[in-house]
Each structure stands twice: as structure tokens, then as C-alpha cells.
Amino acid sequence: MLGRWSYSGTNYPKESPNAARVDSWPPAGGPPGSNLPFLREQLLDEWGIDIAINNPLFHSAVQRHPHYTAALARAINEWQIGEWTDPEPRIKASICVPQEEGDLAAAEIDRLGDDPNFVQILLVIRGAEPLGRRRYWPIYEAAVRHNLPIGIHFGGQGGNPLTGTGWPSYYIEDHTGMAQSFQGQLTSLIFEGVFEQFPTLRVCLIEGGFAWLPTLMWRMDAAYKRLHEEVPHLKKLPSEYIRDHIWLSTQPMEEPFKPHQFTQLLRHGTLADRLIFATDYPHWDFDAPDQALPKTKLPEEFEQKLFFQNALDFYGERLLPRVRG
């Protein structure tokens, strides 16, 4: 919803206000994910998590007023330092930016880009326009300047319907349909030439599913063979840009009808080397680290990659805990 200031997001699904786990409201009050001691107990300590990355979805990205959206993003970033990354070295922050205002977003990235508390720039998947368009390039330029990757998270409103066919009626349509937005944005980033322009840019698609990636790669490559004259600025096959630049997060975990099909999926394309485990805490579709993977024999070393190595490849050394003092 454009122009809203509240954190409350959607009240769906029913009986899970803030789309949060019912047990994630801190006993001390405040909304889910707002209380560090409770988050330590319920998330970090519960699963022995060494590094967690904050992705605040406070609608700072999609306000109409340019200076308000910039001020909101800046305030959230300061709050992350003061309330989360300073007192808790296991938590790393994402730079929230006024997504629709490329220059103001770049200024915020320049302000914080060398602060080791921050490990990525956070965009939301549904903005005003496809993310490959030039109005967003100052964001990518600033990202490359500071060697910061971009995380694009589920969410945002942007003014366009979720699906290409219009506004749906039910939350379940929104929840299922978001993968379409991710595919659309990825297609835009590739064909508008973002990765040709910014060859060191790394992007992680967060909470958009991942099983659709292999077929999208096939389809894009097949189309490229016939239609490449339209995009002469591309020098590689679309799937090659994906291999070089794109990471994805697990939550929501894809759950095939037969668990072994998950393994087949990993063997397609780049997924085994590109998936990063995500819990989506405190949201209702939270994945428990010890339970979320399908009960099947996974490729050797996959878990080590999923829970550590792929994230390290994507975020780089900044991810590792700083020695303090």
C-alpha cells in the first residue's frame, strides 16, 4: 500500500497478524522481531545460528515522497546499528534504501557502504518498475562501488497487481504468485543488461522460491537464440549471467511430491552452489533449520554449502563475525 507508514504489513494469513508466527510476539511487548533478548532465545540460541542477517521490511522502499522514503530508510538503518548489530555480533544488517529514488538510494549506500555491520543492500521485489530499468542503475553502481551484494526480498507493493492478469482475491494467491514477480525481475535484470554493465554485481533472490530457475534458464536461452538481435548489449547466454550473478534463498522450501525430486532439482543448473538457507523468522512460514529439508539423501556436502559456504561466497568476508574491542 503506497504511502502507509505502519510496520504492520498485511494482517493475513488469518490468525497470524503481521504474517508472524503466533509465538513470536515478544512477552515484553512490541511486534515480532523487535526484541533482541527474545530473538536470541527463540532463534539464535535455539538453533545455534552463528550469523543471521536482518531484512527489515518496513516499507521504507516504496513510499511516494522521495525525502520521506529516504529518511525512513536512514532511520531504519540507524536503528539496526543501535539495537541489533552493535549489541549482538551474530547479527548483520541490510542497508534499506529508498528504492524508487536511485540517487537518494545511492547516497544512503555511500553513507553506510563501508560499515562492516552491513552485508547487503535490500530491495523489495515489487517496486514501481522492472528492476533492470535505468532509474535503478545508481543503486547497482553504488553496490559495486562498495562491493556489496544486493538482496531482493519478497514484498513491496509498487502499485502494480501481483500477477500480469490483475489483482487476486486471496492471500494464498499472493503467497503463491510472488514467484512470478521474481521471474519477471530476473528476466528484466538480465535482458536490460544490468550484469553486462556491472560485471561484479551479485544478487540474491530472497523468499521467491527456486525450483522455477532451471526452466526459466532454458526458456531464456531458447528465446535468446532467436531474438538476440533485440538485445545486442548482451555478450553471453542468459543462463550464463544467472550462473555468474544470481544466488537464491531457500525459504519457502520447495517441497516436491516425491522427496528425491528435490535432489534432481539441485543437480539442475547451479542450485546446489547458489542456495542460501533462510528461516524467514518471525513470519508464519518460518523454516526450522533442522526440519525444513526434505527427508531424502542430498548430494554430498550440500548441507555444508547450504548452511555456510554459499552464503560466504555471496556475502564475502564481511559475513564473518568481527573481532570486537
Partner: protein, 181 residues
Amino acid sequence: MAASQVSNVALGVDDGTRFVVGTVDDIPPGSRKVILVNGREIGVFNVNGEYFAVLNRCPHQGGPLCSGRQTGFLVAPLPGEYQLSRPGEVIRCPWHGWEFDLRTGQSWCEPSKVRVRRYDVSVESGETLVAAVPGEDGPTEAETDPLAPPGLVKGPYKAETFPVSIEQQYIVVDVGGRRPS
């Protein structure tokens, strides 16, 4: 509601499979109590005077099922027309909202594969209950004491005590039954 609000340790009686979880006054209609019974967290619910008990571990991803919301089954004869049937007899897991029938443990999400462990519950007079003698396989000494905090070992000293007769109504959970198939 916090993930672990386990209020106490249940007291074993008789053969060591039956445990007192409290008096009827402890769990009035519409309320619930999660208690450690023989090492397992079990939630005991009072739905309009009927008692139900299920394991506090969701078979989906292990969530603390008994801290979820209590509801009924939602039925819709038409899109947009809703009715609630059997209010209070359904527990929704706090994590992902899977629903379980408190009466049977049955999940209606993947009914052929998933159910939560349920236990028989009865209400019995205090006069009929005899504390279990801790034995090899029975509950540990600490578990048989409703006042013992979990994890503490009893010390060697004991003050002199006197028998008191108990006539209240107690809620008893039976963990000895076989898992329903």
C-alpha cells in the same frame, strides 16, 4: 505466547504410566496447561469440561503445538460464506498454522500421513490415586514430585511431614497407550 511455558512436572501414580497433571481447578474450561510428563511436554486442554491431551510437538516441523491458537473447523458451503464447527476442539500450530483435532490428534492437512500423539485423560478422586514408587524404568524421583523444578536433584535431608488426606478431583493423563495408527 512464549515457546516454552511448561508449568511443572507431572506426578506419577499407580503403574508409572499415569500422571497427575493438576486438579480440575488448575485447568478451568477454555484453558490449557503444558506440563512435563515423564520427560515429554504434553498440553492438557479443557474444552467445555472435556479434557484432551496432545504432545507439545508439531509433527510438521517440531513447533510448540500447544501454544497455538484454539479454533474450530472452518466450513464454507460457498466461497465467502463461513461457518465454524466444533469451536475450541482444534489446535493450530503457532508456526505454520497446521490444524489438529484435539479429540483424536488427527491432522486435516495431510490426513493420511500426519497426526499428533494424543493421550487419554480422566478425572479421578484424590483418594483413589497412589503415588508411583520410583523404580528402574519408572519416573525419576524428581519427576514424581510436582513441586520439583526440572533438572534438580533431591538433597539428602528431609523435614518431618504428616499425612494429609486428599479428596479433590485430579486430572490424570495416561501415557501408556499405544500410538494410534
